[in-house]
């Protein structure tokens, strides 16, 4: 197990290196930046700013400097839009917000999706199956930028249960987490239903039933571990999707997270911030993928031999 984790970690290093290099040179092609104001800057000011960011040096020098600071100090450079702030400082305050939102969305999806899927598999071809599965199909087809505003319209503006935007009180987490997690809840419920059905049709479940084991015991002791395996393998792609989903959700609910910085940096052409957020996202997704893989191996010992 330890060797497996170590191997995956070592594999991730060249991937991250390539991602960093490609992103750096891609963003170097970007025309314009936060310094292009409507009134042209005096040349000496522009020169001073370029010197401050090291933009007056040749590209390869800039690249080497960036990589050196990144590898040795984990330094993502100075932000170009918010003068005097480093990307690290800006992300240090916003990333925890995004992580919290992402985890809440993921847990929402996991808990409700799993329950819906397991219940549906136990009530196969009855209303207890059709109703959650129809909801799941809707959940997969309605995009988050439609559900988000609709949830605000109904629960915030209509019923007044929640705030329409902001990130101050615990209940401000409810609507964003739901919007972010709905698609994954729907997908997970379908996976859980399929996985459970496959297990419940096996001989050892019939044996357990014949021995008079209670339904609860059959679910908990005999089928949950195997039946939820497809859900665990889906966690990797789900994390990657939740990262992209947060771009929209943080915009809709005006949440001060890292995704808002990314979206704003995209319209401001703020290179260091785009670069920093991309790298942080890549690291995050790779780490979460690894965690999902480890969990899959833990749940399915047969994978250990591969």
């Amino acid at each position: 197990m330890l060797r497996f984790i170590l191997k995956r970690f070592l594999e991730a290093i060249p991937v991250l290196f390539i991602v960093a290099t490609l992103t750096f040179f891609l963003l170097h092609q970007m025309k314009g930046g936060p310094f292009d104001t409507e009134r042209p800057m005096p040349p000496e000011v522009k020169k001073a700013i370029y010197a401050y960011y090291g933009l007056d040096k040749p590209v390869w020098r800039q690249y080497l400097n960036y990589m050196e600071r990144l590898v040795l100090h984990g330094d993502l450079g100075m932000d170009q839009k918010y003068f005097g702030w480093s990307v690290n400082e800006l992300l240090a305050s916003s990333l925890p917000v995004s992580l919290e939102l992402g985890l809440e969305g993921l847990f929402f999806a996991l808990i409700f999706g799993t329950i819906a899927g397991v219940v549906a598999s136990l009530r196969k071809n009855t209303f207890g199956d059709y109703i959650p599965m129809s909801i799941a199909t809707f959940g997969i087809c309605i995009p988050s930028f439609v559900t988000g505003p609709l949830l605000i319209l109904v629960f915030a503006l209509g019923l007044g249960w929640f705030n329409a935007s902001g990130w101050f009180f615990p209940r401000d987490r409810v609507l964003p987490a739901m919007t972010l997690g709905l698609y994954y809840m729907a997908y997970i419920s379908r996976l859980a239903r399929g996985g459970m059905l496959e297990i419940l049709n096996q001989d050892f479940i019939r044996t357990a039933r014949a021995k008079g084991a209670s339904e609860w015991r059959i679910v908990r002791k005999h089928s949950l571990r195997g039946g939820l395996l497809p859900v665990v393998t889906f966690l990797g792609p789900a994390v990657s999707g939740i990262v992209t989903g947060s771009l929209v959700v943080e915009t809709i609910f005006q949440i001060p997270g890292a995704a808002r910085f990314f979206v704003n940096a995209a319209s401001n052409r703020d290179g260091p911030m785009l670069m920093g957020t991309t790298l942080v996202y890549a690291v995050l997704v790779i780490v979460m993928n690894l965690a999902a893989d480890v969990m899959a191996v833990w749940m399915n010992p047969r994978l250990r031999f591969e």
């Binding site: 439609v146 915009t251 995209a266 991309t278």
Partner: protein
């Protein structure tokens, strides 16, 4: 979407031993009520969307500032927006653009996916390992983030948007085609082609790819909704289709900005978009089930 079906039946004439397979599939597809309803819905909507620019050109841009935003009425079935523009016309126009973008993006992703998968599957060996490892790595990265970067760096050209959309969604197609080609290349007709001394390029393009086109069509129907979703996602972030053009994504974005005062501006485009995605998914799933293509997904 109905254009898909003549294709399927057309294959029945071309592939002799597969004749009954395609007919069976066609029969099974018609049994699947949800898929048929979905196909009819999308077909009608597509006809309406693509005919609007012909029948009522410019109707989407006709402003009536005195009228302003009004709720649905007899004169304007879906109401009007802030500038007094008829929402029905705008939704149909937006649909025209969303569907076109969906089809164009799908085309790009099919071209990339089929070529990549065919090369990987046909050559096998170390090249295959490397190519598939690349697919795995791209899978595990938030690829949409890179697409956004590309759009930011090179500008939001519509052609670039197609390429970017296609570039995201070719991975599944590549895996499916690779598996199919690996199975096909062991068959006699490919051995014969090799024995005749045909070039590899010719074998792949003329003999292998035509034989996987049926499966390509089916999976392409599942790519269309995902590309449309991605386009709307990018449009919602202001990176997709640019004004004066408007897709369903931009309509939803506009609607969500003042949904408190004019909820219909959000609800109707959102409903249209969701129903289309819903139907396309049913059609795609129905087609796949009808042919029972169990291509390797893992």
């Amino acid at each position: 979407m109905t254009a898909e079906f003549p294709n399927v039946t057309q294959h029945a004439g071309e592939i002799e031993p597969g004749h009954s397979l395609w007919q069976d599939a066609w029969h099974r597809l018609r049994q699947n009520k949800l898929a048929v309803i979905g196909a009819v819905f999308v077909a009608l909507l597509a006809i309406a969307c693509f005919l609007t620019p012909v029948i009522a050109p410019g109707s989407y841009a006709k402003t009536n500032l005195a009228l302003g935003a009004k709720a649905p009425s007899r004169a304007h079935l879906l109401g009007t927006d802030v500038l007094g523009r008829d929402l029905l016309a705008r939704v149909l126009y937006g649909g025209c653009i969303s569907l076109s973008v969906g089809l164009a993006g799908t085309f790009v992703s099919v071209v990339i996916g089929v070529l990549y998968g065919a090369i990987s599957g046909y050559f096998g060996g170390r090249l295959d390992v490397i190519l598939m490892r690349i697919v795995d790595i791209i899978y595990s990265l938030p690829f949409v983030v890179f697409v956004i970067l590309v759009l930011v760096v090179f500008g939001q050209h519509i052609i670039l948007l197609f390429m970017a959309l296609g570039a995201v969604s070719w991975l599944d197609m590549a895996r499916i085609i690779r598996a199919q080609v690996m199975a096909l290349k062991k068959q006699e007709f490919i051995e014969a082609a090799v024995a005749l001394g045909l070039r590899k390029r010719r074998i792949i393009l003329r003999h292998l790819i035509p034989n996987v086109l049926g499966i390509v069509t089916i999976y392409a129907t599942l790519i269309v909704p995902s590309v449309m979703l991605l386009e709307a996602f990018l449009s919602f972030l202001g990176l997709g289709v640019q004004a004066p053009m408007s897709s369903w994504g931009t309509l939803i974005l506009d609607g969500s900005k003042n949904m408190e005062e004019y909820p219909w501006l959000l609800i109707f485009p959102g409903l249209c978009f969701s129903l289309t995605l819903f139907s396309l998914n049913f059609v795609g799933d129905g087609l796949r089930d009808a042919l029972d293509v169990r291509a390797s997904k893992d």
